[in-house]
């Protein structure tokens, strides 16, 4: 048991744009995922898969699967931040968990679990991470290993009382 505070990994910051808001006056469900997609771009920058890194390696990431839990409505112009936890990696897959929070008070607004695959764009086909990318990912996994596993990780969808 440690009392050590961990500083979250911030992968995106911004405000809810007017064109992201639906007829209810709230951030539309799909635009939460756009924000999380920008956060994944932030992770790509961190691990050396920014535009120059993609050009040098010939690699990029494709999303295989993604799961969102919506916790709160979010109105236009609200300042928001994405915190990211690397849940795991293998030779070519990256398992991420993003949490969208309100900047003012840290209230959790939504979560997004993602499974991504490293792709050699020459195929395109799946390929092992380039060594330098794999090293940076290993450091992130190691740093995030002590963090608590998010409650929404590994969720599946079912009506209450109907789960097989």
């Amino acid at each position: 048991m440690t009392e050590q505070r961990v500083e979250p990994l911030v992968t995106w910051r911004g405000k809810v744009a007017p064109e992201w808001v639906d007829y209810n006056g709230h951030l539309r469900d799909a635009y939460y995922l756009l924000v999380f997609s920008f956060a994944t771009d932030g992770v790509m920058d961190l691990i050396g898969l920014d535009a120059p890194g993609r050009a040098a390696t010939g690699h990029t990431l494709y999303t295989l699967e993604t799961h969102l839990n919506y916790l709160q409505e979010v109105k236009e112009a609200v300042a928001i931040v994405v915190h990211t936890q690397v849940l795991g990696v293998d030779t070519k897959r990256l398992h991420l968990f993003h949490t969208l929070v309100r900047q003012a008070d840290g209230l959790g607004l939504a979560t997004n679990e993602q499974m991504l695959c490293n792709i050699d764009t020459a195929g395109p086909r799946s390929a092992p991470f380039a060594p330098a990318v794999a090293d940076r990912l290993a450091s992130l996994v190691e740093a995030h290993r002590p963090w608590p596993r998010p409650a929404q990780a590994g969720c599946s969808i079912a009506l209450p009382g109907t789960r097989a």
Copy 2:
């Protein structure tokens, strides 16, 4: 065993817009969900929760949780269609399954499972579906009950070999 063909329920048709395409030249992950979100609007129209229905009942739907599986890359201007299956309902929840297909040949491009909740916007708070909406939902559930359950329904995300 029946040989009866079922006509899919089409809830959206369109083309991949230029602003939905990412640096890989493909439909960006978040914009698959925008297309599925439009398909959910199509379902709302069908069940009497279009704009006049929302005004009359004071109700709308919020997305609680959503899961996407990406099956194929999709390039700009490709004609696409969403097919929808209603997996279930209770007094205030709606469990949908959308499949995005290429119009030319019916190739499956992505799937999206959604759990939605009926909301009384006066709260906003969750509320039972209005009777006319509940009747239309019950008809859809009945019509779709014989359809095969999609392989991706009820999925959760994990690295291979790490599932708890």
